[in-house]
């Protein structure tokens, strides 16, 4: 085991993936010699050469289109979009191409080897265009897998699983935690399952569900609730698509209550999908309405960032309201 921050864990996973398979490539804006603006690809060009780890021109639709072509050809591309806020020029390539490659060809062609890595999320004074959490747009697209890790250990295991998965995966990296989250990470190869949620802390009164950087927020709120005698079960969804209905439903059947929290605006956020499914699965077990604590329905602001965010205090208040319903 080694102490790694989230960036180092990602870099380590990329290193393992490139070492094991000569057809694995890492590319994107500033990804080559510089190692990416966050340095997630540091040292990879030196180690594996310019042909396999390189800077691309500044064109997101080009990056993903190029990656689709590589994956269709049989290579294993790991494409970086510098910020999730800048993924939208590639939306057509992802939604109409990546996601539908296999289906439209009757499985004659696929881009299952593709992994798209991109930093997402707020709380870093990034304003409108360095803060967004766009997972729900992609969750609405059959054919994609969407994964979000919460810490360095999860990041390495889930990224290796994403790279090796035979389906295209969008891997959202919580950039607020890149250097802030440090933990024990095995230096050896390991994978964590895609499509599987994890019960992080057992509890009895309410299930709290989140993913990525928001896990820290609900954990903090759960500590405050514990001081008031409320026992929270904390669940990390880990995969947004496909998502683990069974683990969440089992938790809710035990606690009778559910709170879902994400950074993205509440309207049409992924919490809505979860709430709809869980009321279907667990209707007779529910003791209160499913609560959503999410971003306000506005673009992500700069100076009023704290007011906009689904912080631990808002989650704590919602826990109390739900338990006392």
């Amino acid at each position: 085991m080694a102490q790694m921050n989230l960036l180092q864990a990602i870099n380590n996973a990329l290193d393992i993936a490139m070492a094991e398979d000569d057809s694995t490539l890492c590319f994107g804006e500033d990804v080559g010699h510089f190692g990416g603006v966050f340095r997630a690809t540091s040292g990879l060009q030196e180690k594996y050469g310019k042909a396999r780890c390189f800077n691309t021109p500044l064109v997101e639709q080009g990056i993903i289109g190029f990656a689709n072509g590589l994956a269709a050809q049989g290579s294993r591309p790991i494409a970086e979009i510098q910020f999730a806020d800048y993924i939208f020029p590639a939306f057509d390539q992802i939604v109409n191409e990546t996601a539908k490659f296999r289906y439209r060809s009757g499985n004659q062609f696929d881009v299952g080897r593709l992994t798209i890595r991109t930093p997402y999320g707020g709380g870093i004074a990034g304003g409108l265009y360095h803060s967004q959490s766009p997972e729900a747009y992609f969750a609405h697209t059959p054919g994609l897998k969407v994964v979000v890790p919460r810490n360095p250990y999860q990041a390495k295991g889930l990224l290796l699983a994403s790279i090796r998965d035979d389906n295209p995966v969008i891997f959202f990296e919580p950039k607020r935690l890149y250097r802030a989250s440090v933990g024990e990470v095995p230096e050896d190869d390991y994978q964590l399952p895609i499509g599987k949620a994890e019960v992080v802390t057992q509890g009895t009164d309410i299930s709290l569900l989140a993913w990525g950087a928001q896990m820290e927020i609900i954990e903090k709120a759960a500590e405050m609730a514990a001081n008031e005698g409320i026992s929270c079960e904390i669940v990390d969804l880990r995969s947004i698509l496909p998502w683990d209905v069974e683990t969440v439903a089992n938790s809710v059947m035990k606690t009778g209550r559910l709170l879902v929290s994400h950074e993205a605006p509440v309207t049409a956020g992924f919490a809505g999908e979860i709430a709809a499914t869980i009321q279907q699965e667990c209707f007779l077990h529910l003791e209160s309405p499913i609560a959503r604590v999410c971003g306000v329905d506005t673009p992500y602001p700069l100076s009023l960032e704290r007011e906009h965010m689904a912080d631990h205090l808002k989650v704590f208040e919602a826990i109390k309201r739900t338990v006392n319903y």
Binding site: A125, E307, D311
Partner: protein, 393 residues
Amino acid sequence: MNTDIYKEGEVVHSPAFIDGHSVDIPVLKILKQDGTTYPNAELPELTQAEAEKVYKALAFHRVLDERMIAAQRQGRVSFYMAALGEEATTVGGAAALESQDMIMAQYREQGCLIYRGFSLEDFMNQLFSNEKDLGKGRQMPIHYGSNELNYLTISSPLGTQIPQASGYAYGQKLQGKDAVTLCYFGEGAASEGDFHAGLNMAAVHKAPVIFFCRNNGYAISTPSDEQYVGNGIASRGVGYGMKTIRIDGNDILAVMKAVQLARAHAVEHSEPVLIEAMSYRLGAHSTSDDPSGYRTKEEEAKWAEHDPIARFKSWMLAQEWWDEAKDAELFETLREEILAAVKVAEKIDKPPVEDLVTDVYDDVPKHLQKQLDELKEHIKKYPEAYPFTAGRI
């Protein structure tokens, strides 16, 4: 179908590929670094009073950037982007326009705003995202905008303003306005799909837009030779069938001359023009960047010798339109004024909580009003957690 647009060469019967670098592109240079002009150089129209305004804008730009980089290092602002070495491209561009012309910038074009008279207070209020910011404190520092000065608010995603400029200029033409749109972008942003879409739309629909590429050698860490292998950005203008010129971007007289002529052409013929200004980003991409990871001090030092402000100052001195005593006084005054303005702006309150939900739409819809009401109740419970807004609810 009209086939006149195909300028056919001779008919050949064995394959003749055209080389990818077969278009030679001249570079316009008017002013030498020592302040003299090239023999027979055609100077832009420029009176002494205008020249002084241009020089003062350049000086303001240089001092503003120096002071704000220092303020960022001191933790007083979260972020900053300087335009060190590229000031001539924006100050010169704005100086060659009329005030009714629209400017759509990328993000490093504060020089245009300075020339057009955006006040020091307006700069500071945006940089400190306080309640007097015209953008209501919503965007990161340097995302300026001014409806009054015809300068569209900056959007971080790259290249998005390019097709918008084509549409804006087309509207100006249809309404018979004596106005054009000047659209800035970098050589990196010219890789975006929006660049190609925007140039072709403007060319096909004959929009009076001036596309101005600041080719400063780097897109963050990516050097231009990893961005494209063609003959720069100018060669693409030819591909889209538009008038194109390449200029020395550190030569403000060349910038002004090119933009003056481009404007006249755009207005008279309702056609777009592409200008590629060759320059160098002497500073970091932003305060979040460290260029020592991707380029040498020697390279930077070489380009520092081409400082556009020193070059124009030498010319002003040679015209006897400026002197060293005035210069020293100008820089001293600017430093004092900007420092004083920082101290004022950083004490102004952040925007009130209501500004979170306004301007998402023209009016605040019911669901957002409800979210705001709930948020206010929440803030009242935990005022210490929301210090910017709690005192005013």
